[in-house]
């Protein structure tokens, strides 16, 4: 990894630099530009010229400045110490940068992504003479209270262990094992590098079958996501993309969360940094930060590093997947990433396709979502990467290119609705526009927990919601009085379902997430009201009387008043409901 001069700057146009006199340049090579040593990457080579995308502000860079090659592609460091850290789009540790350069990010500063001083307690899993292949688990390190880091043999090393250290404390750059390979001896440390644009290899893809439980009722019950699946959350500004992703990052049942703030607000990252360490994961009792990795390339940070941040995040996620974990990646917002592509492409004077986006936009989107999956890893373990991408369509119009192309490559779609958000119906996930193609895949999982009630109830309520739409159209023309009570009751049930079930307040201590047991019971109660109410009306009970039963008030508020660990209360509520309707 000797640094050498590979050329000089010819032209500077924002983050895009044309270079000349290139000798020895390599596509995707990591380079440093000028004496400020700004980080860049070669993205095009032609004769002695190259185009370099620079990941920092290029103010002051002038023609003639030197370009230094590193001989290696833009890569991330993988090893213990990633969890709980916040990085920028090219994996510079932001907390370290703040120690070096204060409150603002100065140009050209560098710090290793993984601390070189921290000593980790390494416990070997193998002994001298064992054979290692790519991905083999060499040993273990307790990385955080809840995450056991499995130190992996890099994907390009294969051979026999000729020495391995004993249990003890080591830094990430100390040799822990020496491997005899066909190309000579290879020293391994607890960390290795991997190029961000190259998916890490796996043995096989496994069909998806387990839902990613998010604790968000509208998602788990109506539009479930599978572990290893992909989903897009499109929505205009302020409709709740970030809040939904935060809620999932907090409460979903993945082992590891990679949260990518890609071209969004600085304060939102600060919010996560403040809040996550204080929140306790209900499943493990440890702080949520113990499973979270953050990548922050906010809107005011350099646009090319924004482009890279998505890949950096995906690579970190794959690395934990390779250790046998279920990882959920939130990318907020993939539209900002697409716009970064557009801006860079524009500066390179490429031919634009739709709305100025480069013609390769769909390919890039597809490549990104392809990095999701439930995998059989090289070392025999199983793990998954689920990708949850926010999309910010201009004007909230879903027909724009990024939303449209994303839709082609994801199998689940949570469309946020402006009307719902305006009425403060949160999460504003539209039950009419959204869909999940994972229903069939995850149904068996639900059956083993709850018989067929999940699938049956879901189907029932979706039918009611569809009928309500038609009825509402009638109401809009002639008023509700024109409808018979039996039909008005459907509207009534749907409105109860929206208020009591679909709406979920992310700031309430009981409501911020619901266990699947609570979700199932809540749904039972609402559908019980639907069934019993329908018979009551047939019996001649009026809608006015039906609406007046006192227990309805408690049903609307059950999400707030019934704690997740106290769902027996719901049985009492159900009993009261039965009594009240029978009395009518």
């Amino acid at each position: 990894m000797e640094e050498q001069i590979i050329g000089r700057v010819k032209r500077v146009n924002g983050p895009v630099i044309e270079a000349e006199g290139i000798t020895n340049g390599m596509m995707m090579e990591l380079v440093r530009v000028s004496e400020a040593r700004l980080i860049g990457e070669i993205i095009k080579l032609s004769g002695a010229c190259a185009i370099i995308q620079v990941y920092e502000d290029t103010t002051g860079v002038a023609p003639g400045n030197i370009i230094y090659g590193s001989g290696m592609p833009l890569s991330v460091e993988l090893g213990p110490g990633l969890i709980g850290t916040i990085y920028d789009g090219i994996q510079r540790p932001l907390e370290r940068l703040a120690e070096i350069s204060g409150t603002t990010i100065q140009r050209g500063i560098q710090a290793p992504p993984l601390s070189r001083d921290h000593q980790w307690d390494f416990i070997p899993a193998l002994k001298t003479g064992d054979f290692v292949t790519p991905g083999t688990i060499l040993g273990r390190v307790q990385e955080s209270e809840r995450i056991e880091h499995r130190v992996l043999c890099p994907p390009d090393v294969l051979g026999e262990i000729i020495s391995i250290v004993d249990s003890g404390a080591y830094t990430v750059d100390e040799t822990i094992a020496t491997i005899k390979t066909s190309s000579g001896n290879h020293n391994l440390t607890m960390m290795h590098r991997w190029p961000i644009r190259k998916p890490r290899p796996v043995t096989d893809r496994i069909p998806l079958r387990i839902p990613l439980i998010t604790g968000q009722r509208v998602i788990d019950t109506l539009f479930p996501l599978a572990k290893g699946g992909t989903v897009a959350i499109p929505g205009g500004f302020g409709t709740g993309k970030t809040m939904t992703q935060h809620a999932i990052a907090k409460w979903c049942d993945a082992d590891i969360i990679v949260y990518i703030g890609c071209g969004e607000r600085g304060n939102e990252m600060t919010d996560v940094l403040n809040e996550f360490p204080k929140l306790i994961d209900p499943r493990t009792g440890s702080s949520l930060m113990e499973r979270t990795l953050l990548i922050a390339n906010t809107s005011n940070m350099p646009v090319s590093a924004r482009e890279a941040s998505i890949y950096t995040g995906a690579t970190l996620a794959e690395y934990y997947r390779d250790q046998g974990y279920h990882v959920a990646v939130m990318a907020d917002s993939t539209s900002r990433w697409a716009e970064a592509l557009r801006e860079l492409s524009g500066r390179m004077e490429e031919m634009p396709a739709e709305e100025g986006f480069p013609a390769y936009l769909p390919t890039r989107i597809a490549e990104f979502y392809e990095r999701a999956g439930y995998m059989q890893n090289l070392n025999g373990t199983e793990g998954s990467v689920s990708l949850i991408g926010a999309v910010s369509p201009p004007g909230g119009d879903f027909s724009e290119p990024v939303t449209q192309h994303t839709k082609r490559f994801v199998r689940c779609f949570w469309g946020l609705d402006r009307q719902l958000a305006n009425a403060r119906h949160y999460p504003a996930i539209s039950w009419l526009d959204s869909y999940s193609e994972y229903l069939d895949e995850v149904s068996p999982w639900w059956s083993t927990r709850a018989g067929d009630s999940w699938a049956r109830n879901r189907k029932r309520i979706m039918e009611l919601l569809q009928r309500e739409v038609k009825l509402q159209q009638v109401v809009k023309l002639v008023g509700p009085d024109a409808l018979p009570d039996s039909q008005r009751f459907i509207i009534e049930v749907c409105s109860l379902f929206k208020n009591a079930f679909l709406q979920q307040n992310a700031f309430d201590k009981n409501d911020c997430y619901s266990t699947i047991e609570k979700q199932l019971r809540m749904m039972d109660i609402i559908l019980l009201y639907a069934d019993m109410g329908e018979t009551a009306i047939r019996r001649g009970v009026t809608l006015v009387n039906l609406r007046r039963i006192k227990v309805l008030q408690d049903i609307v508020k059950m999400k707030l008043t019934v704690a997740n660990d106290d769902i027996a209360q719901l049985d009492r509520l159900e009993a009261r409901l039965i009594r009240s309707i029978e009395k009518l």
């Binding site: 010819k10 032209r11 146009n13 044309e18 004496e35 103010t59 002051g60 860079v61 002038a62 023609p63 003639g64 400045n65 030197i66 932001l94 907390e95 350069s101 204060g102 409150t103 603002t104 990010i105 100065q106 140009r107 205009g236 500004f237 302020g238 071209g263 607000r265 600085g266 304060n267 600060t270 919010d271 940094l273 403040n274 906010t298 809107s299 350099p302 646009v303 900002r336 716009e339 557009r342 524009g346 709305e355 100025g356 910010s392 004007g395 909230g396 119009d397 305006n422 009425a423 403060r424 119906h425 002639v478 008023g479 509700p480 009085d481 208020n499 700031f507 008030q553 508020k557 707030l560």
Partner: protein
Amino acid sequence: MTNPNTLNLLDKELLEGREYIGVHEIDGPIIIIKNTHPVGYRELVECIDTNGHTRLGMVLDTSSTAVAVQVFEGTSGLTLPGTHMRFRGKPLTVSVTEAMLGRVFNGLGQPIDGGPPPAALVSRDVNGLPVNPTAREYPRDFIQTGISVIDAMNTLIRGQKLPIFSGNGLPHNQLAAQIARQATLRGENTEFAVVFAAMGIKHDIARYFIDSFESSGVLDKVALFLSLADAPSIERIITPRTALTLAEHLAYECGKHVLVIMTDISNYCESLREISTIRGEIPSRKGYPGYLYSDLAELYERSGMIKGCPGSITQLPILTMPNDDISHPIPDLTGYITEGQIVFDRDMNSRSIYPPVAGLPSLSRLMKDGIGEGMTRVDHPHLASQLFASYSYVKDVRNLASVIGEEELTALDKQYMEFGEEFERRFVNQRSDENRDIEESLTIAWECLSLLPAEELTRLTEDELDEYYGR
């Protein structure tokens, strides 16, 4: 062999003084000059016209053959052979000091009030540097503006960026001035310093603000940066940056709480589009450049609070939505960056409701951490949510009423109609010199909601209803 680095440095010093006579091309605010020494990207340029007057500019594109420079004071009167150029080897900086409060400047920070340039100790790059997210302090202090619809439903927080989405002829200036006059922190006696950046607005509007600051006796706490409608449009690009550079100095180096009013962002964006078009860049929506989002973010993200600094920057950008269209790229991209928005509604304005804040599309994203027990009042969060929900139903009922007639409405829907009226007339509507404290605003809100049956108020808890409903 000589070290190329030292050679470079020596060169730089020599070249800095070099003046080029004559330029190759002038197109709008952009000058192309050829055969220069290697010039740095975004370097500061002095451009001297035939009268010996210096105009400032910045390098937009640099290569070994040609350099493109944008001239902030415009290019009118320049000639190809008669223009001299000097490259300064450093980015554009402004000198900033607390003594700039009480003064008036142009967009580049040069005094235009007849006074001498303030003696400044520090000079700062106008573009600023991105704040490290780990260095930010999450804003959570409630600012009482005395305006019910803001305080109760779209709470302003110290360090927030909350734009006003307005339209031509709507009273956004009154509202901004009223906020600047009335903003206080409860239980604290800190005053806000105001930094005012005017971009392409008319003289009488600038005058309106100055008079308003003067009559409330705060003019000596206000620094004005004026790039009015008759100034070269390119100057608008630099005006907010100059203003924000001072704001950052005041907030983070002098520990002040700063309120930045920027008006009109739409004019700023138009200048950006102009330059982009001249440079032949590929446009995205409506001819605006693809980097409009990043460019606006560079401005808006220069707000907030920093750990360990007592000061703060609260931004109140004003923008007029072309054709009142909220999906136009300017309000749209702004909404994607700022922490909420106050949206004006022409219909409410024509019904003489002031401030004509549209209930539903307005939003404050930071209010969640700044209201409630210990900050405003315990019932505030649920109350706000209930107001939005009930008012949103009012809109549905009004639509229905316009189809089937008001008489045909159900009894409940009629109650909603009544609530809607009361909400707009008593709660939203207030005088432009009326300063309501938060308790008063919340009380009026409860009085309006008490027109509805208690069962309808599903977002409030039993305790809250017991305490406040129907009192």
